[in-house]
């Protein structure tokens, strides 16, 4: 009896070991686009190995129920895997929520199975798992709601918000400590979950749409850490490894995002983003702008040698990326060098803009990161800004009173000519005026991004025949 059991156990542990190695390889292969798809395959094989290993577990009797749950879950997963590329941020937030839900449910089940005989440390990590899981669950749902624009994007703030939120968290931790000392106290466990769920909602309420890239990364990190905590509860090294990988990934991404928005590190860790206080002062005296038509813009672009396109989320909202691709083709045909400058927070989650441009078939070697392309702007004939605003605002460099002072920006203003496609002169999301628009070398192209780019493309292709 014992030998058969031990044999099974060895196979299970071996499969988990293989899965862990494959997970690490999977992330390693993500480092470059050439190998990235191998990474997905490695991850898939690792996942299958882990699930097969788990099914060999000696205590499992009810295979039918497992199969039903796996099939239902896969059925839900397929449509979630087929969403439109513009909807990837909310899908990602939703899947953080699903992952966190799983962790919370398992943690809850484990608590009621084990109470009152739970060692102190196990209870501590179990509480950590459930608190992080619950707050990530509701927090991610809130984030998904804001990204899907079901919920208002505007941050909701009130006096003493941080005090309220932090006291809620403190109460949840106090309950966790109580459970550590008296693990038989089953009545207080639901309270800990309820408080954490509420905290998750309140944590996201004060956060505006512009901060979403950081928030998503942070929730990613929380989801990973809660899974790692679950690994400690279940004494599963595989889970600890996967959780640690996910946690560090989310952590690195949030640090990158916070740097790109010039936010302090503590700001990221505690999720206390608040809203950039829009400086309402600064007398809005009438300043003049120069505007141009599609025809004029096409003429300038056709005469240029080097063009840099600066896309922002506005481009994606207007669904203009495919038209931008046509513009790219038309200009390349005329021998104009076209590149794309991608700010780290362009789009609504880290790397979102790259995906949107790749979807429009724009080759990824033409996409340049901020630090790589900023030095090239003085040699650029035309910088074409489409649907981006704050990331091109030169006052981030010069104006100490500006709320975005210190934020790294794309040095669009150093190009010889700047063209900005914009609906109107209304200030951007953060409500900050952009001096770029009033510069002598700036041409404002007023209109919907998609139809305006289309107009330029028509002019360019029309001119080739004349």
């Amino acid at each position: 009896m014992n030998t058969a059991f031990a044999g099974n156990q060895i196979i299970i542990e071996f499969l988990y070991l293989v899965a862990s190695a494959l997970f690490i390889l999977s992330l390693k292969w993500m480092s470059a686009p050439q190998t990235a798809r191998h990474g997905v395959w490695a991850g898939e094989i690792g996942m299958v190995a882990a699930i097969v290993g788990t099914l060999l577990h000696h205590g499992i009797v009810d295979y039918r129920s497992i199969a039903i749950a796996l099939v239902i879950g896969s059925g839900i997963g397929i449509p979630l895997g087929l969403v439109h590329m513009t909807a990837v941020p909310q899908r990602t937030a939703l899947s953080h929520a699903c992952g966190a839900l799983c962790v919370t449910l398992v943690g809850t089940a484990e608590f009621y199975l084990r109470t009152p005989n739970v060692p102190r440390f196990t209870m501590a990590v179990l509480s950590l798992e459930v608190i992080l899981g619950s707050l990530t669950f509701t927090g991610s749902l809130m984030a998904a709601g804001k990204l899907q624009e079901i919920l208002p994007q505007r941050p909701l703030t009130y006096r003493g918000q941080n005090v309220v939120n932090l006291s809620l968290l403190a109460v949840a931790i106090a309950v966790a400590v109580d459970l550590m000392l008296h693990p038989g106290n089953r009545q207080v466990f639901p309270a800990m979950i309820a408080i954490s769920l509420a905290f998750g909602v309140l944590m996201i309420v004060p956060i505006g749409g512009a901060d979403m890239p950081t928030v998503i990364s942070l929730l990613n990190s929380y989801a990973g850490l809660s899974a790692a905590a679950m690994g400690f509860v279940l004494e599963s090294k595989l889970l600890i490894i996967a959780g640690a990988l996910d946690g560090s990934s989310g952590f690195i991404l949030s640090v990158i995002m916070s740097k790109a928005m010039n936010r302090s590190f503590t700001n990221v860790l505690f999720g206390a983003f608040g809203q950039v206080q829009a400086s309402e002062a600064a007398g809005r005296e009438e300043k003049t702008v120069r505007s141009a038509t599609a025809e004029e813009a096409a003429g300038i672009l056709a005469a240029a040698n080097r063009v840099v396109v600066v896309p922002g989320y506005g481009m994606a909202v207007a669904q203009a990326q495919h038209k931008v691709r046509e513009l790219y083709d038309a200009l390349r045909k005329r021998g104009v060098e076209v590149r794309f400058a991608i700010h780290p927070v362009a789009g609504r989650m880290p790397g979102h803009m790259n995906v949107l441009l790749a979807e429009a078939d724009i080759p990824y070697d033409q996409l340049a990161e901020m630090d790589d392309i900023n030095g090239d702007f003085p040699q650029t004939d035309v910088a074409l800004v489409i649907g981006a605003n704050d990331v091109t605002n030169p006052s981030a460099r010069t104006d100490q009173s500006s709320p975005i002072y210190g934020m790294p920006i794309l040095d669009v203003d150093k190009a010889r000519t700047v063209m900005v496609i914009k609906r109107s002169m209304s200030p951007g999301f953060a409500g900050i005026d952009n001096p770029l628009y009033y510069m002598d070398k700036t041409l404002m192209l007023f209109g919907d991004a998609k139809s305006f780019v289309n107009g330029i493309v028509h002019q360019l292709s029309g001119n080739t025949h004349s």
Partner: protein
């Protein structure tokens, strides 16, 4: 503190460092697929849920586990699917056009 716990902490520490080193090298180009991939990998939590369902110790544990398997599995399938869809789109300059 049990030895399993100490082992766990060592594993966590090492995996954390490996994660840092590996993910630091991921090109910003691929940060969105990276996040959806780590999401799918994180759904490995499904193994804990499967055990709960399979062992059927109490009704509560069974149903919590059942829901947990569903939510994690939706992440596994959806996460890998969308990551692969995104990565398929990344193309380099076509060699036909020098």
């Amino acid at each position: 503190m049990s030895s399993a716990l100490i082992d766990g902490l060592f594993v966590f520490m090492l995996a954390g460092f490996v994660g840092f080193e590996v993910i630091r090298r991921v090109s910003p180009l691929l940060h969105t697929p990276l996040m959806s991939l780590t999401n799918a990998l994180d759904a490995i939590a499904v193994v804990g849920a499967i055990v709960l369902v399979g062992e059927h110790q109490t009704k509560l544990a069974f149903w919590l586990g059942f829901l947990a398997v569903i939510s994690a599995m939706s992440n596994v399938v959806g996460g890998f699917l969308i990551t692969d869809r995104m990565l398929k789109m990344f193309k380099t300059s076509r060699p036909t056009k020098p």
